[in-house]
């Protein structure tokens, strides 16, 4: 076994190397069911974080991943990438274009509610932060093994809210409404 390379901050100037023009598109713009998922990243003083990068990874509407380790076979959605990345702007805002994923098998034969995994990278974060986006009005949330394990007071930080053209998911790095972050 070899020990892993340690993480370091992405720094404030990652926009030289990481963003792409089509980065925010997990699906083609006009994919059936596509919507905008938008949010703001704020710090412990409630100030927007203008130098963060948001990355998302998710299953397709059938609950399949575009990856050979998904033992159920290839994704069924043409043009589906499942990955998006978007830097925050001067007001801390980010947005990705995506579709709602299907439910995904969990450990021990359980079914996980539809969700999107998120990485948050920024100056001042020596390692990325990981969170999850769940969907509002999703009956499967009640039985989701991850969501059910979270303190009910903090659980709403993991659930997106409806908006005019899609969904909103704000990320609070620190403080009273701090987003739940995960380790694995």
């Amino acid at each position: 076994m070899i020990l892993p390379t340690p993480s370091q901050t992405v720094g404030p100037f990652f926009s030289l190397g990481l963003p792409w023009s089509d980065g925010p598109y997990a699906v083609p713009e006009d994919a059936p069911g596509a919507f905008w998922l938008r949010g703001v990243v704020v710090d412990g003083a409630g100030e927007p974080v203008p130098d963060a990068l948001i990355e998302t990874w998710q299953a397709d509407p059938a609950g399949r991943f575009d990856h050979p380790d998904d033992p159920r076979g290839a994704v069924a959605t043409p043009g589906f990438r499942g990955f998006a990345r978007c830097p925050t702007d001067a007001e801390g805002r980010w947005a990705i274009r995506t579709v709602r994923p299907g439910p995904v098998p969990g450990p021990d034969g359980t079914l996980q509610a539809p969700h999107i995994d998120v990485s948050v990278l920024a100056r001042g974060l020596l390692d990325r932060l990981v969170t999850r986006i769940y969907f509002p009005d999703e009956p499967a949330n009640a039985g989701d093994p991850v969501l059910s394990g979270i303190d009910p007071i903090r659980r709403p930080t993991l659930v997106a809210k409806e908006s005019d053209d899609g969904l909103v998911f704000d990320i609070t790095l620190q403080g009273d409404h701090e987003t739940v972050f995960f380790a694995f």
Partner: protein, 238 residues
């Protein structure tokens, strides 16, 4: 549908080998590090898969930062190369490696960089490469410079190159920095020293490799990158 086996999970971080999120000597962590403990997320298919990027994204000259403009950039020409491996020593093949850095004078080509050092019209400072079947990658660039930042009195960042990797799974995602051997600025840099285990810290330092230099052309530094390995090798079908 055939019966299927969940892929084996990836190993968790070991104490001291990864930086803590709150580091008092690194000012920007003060308002950005979560105060609540991280919640352990069981590794399901979302975490055991990940974006396989690169196909169609890397141009022929993306790995050579000295040939992205009409003229040659100023500075000490270097090759940076190595292998991307997982924690079991297996090569991570066909994976995207992204990198970015300052120019030779220690300035990023970025509107937010206020260091009064010259910009180089022939240097952007970003590169992309794919690993080959053995997990190898290679960049041609110039040695980045040190630069001051306002973290503490007379704070200077050691010369470094930022690296970004995805591996094969969401759990393997890594953003790190490569440093150069024997840098006199190591001792006062809170970002480098955020890795508390001195042996782990040294894994961020590249090795000068005289044998890999190109005579009368460029010096060479080797930087091997190790992503998390699996907990256990999945059982082969009987």
């Amino acid at each position: 549908m055939a019966e299927w086996i969940t892929p084996a999970p990836y190993r968790s971080d070991v104490e001291g080998e990864q930086p803590p999120l709150a580091v008092p000597t690194y000012g920007s962590t003060a308002l950005r590090s979560p105060r609540q403990p991280l919640v352990v997320l069981p590794q399901g298919l979302t975490e055991l898969t990940g974006p396989l990027l690169g196909e169609g994204r890397v141009g022929a000259l993306d790995h050579d930062l000295t040939r992205q403009h009409e003229g040659e950039p100023q500075g000490e020409r270097i090759e940076v190369f190595g292998r991307v491996l997982d924690g079991d020593g297996r090569p991570v093949r066909d994976t995207l490696v992204e990198m970015w850095q300052t120019n030779a004078a220690g300035r990023y080509r970025h509107a937010g960089d206020r260091h009064p050092a010259p910009l180089d019209p022939n240097f952007t400072g970003a590169g992309r490469a794919m690993t080959d079947g053995e997990g190898r990658y290679r960049f041609v660039t110039i040695k980045p410079g040190a630069y001051p930042w306002r973290n503490h009195h007379n704070a200077w960042r050691p010369a470094h190159i930022h690296f970004s990797l995805f591996g094969q799974a969401f759990t393997q995602r890594l953003v790190t920095q490569m440093y150069f051997p024997n840098d006199p600025l190591f001792d006062q840099d809170p970002i480098f020293n955020s890795i508390r285990d001195p042996a782990a810290r040294q894994r961020l330092v590249s090795a000068f490799d005289l044998d890999a230099t190109t005579p009368e052309w460029s010096l060479a530094y080797r930087f091997d990158i190790v992503l998390r390995g699996r907990e256990a090798t999945p059982m082969e079908d009987a």
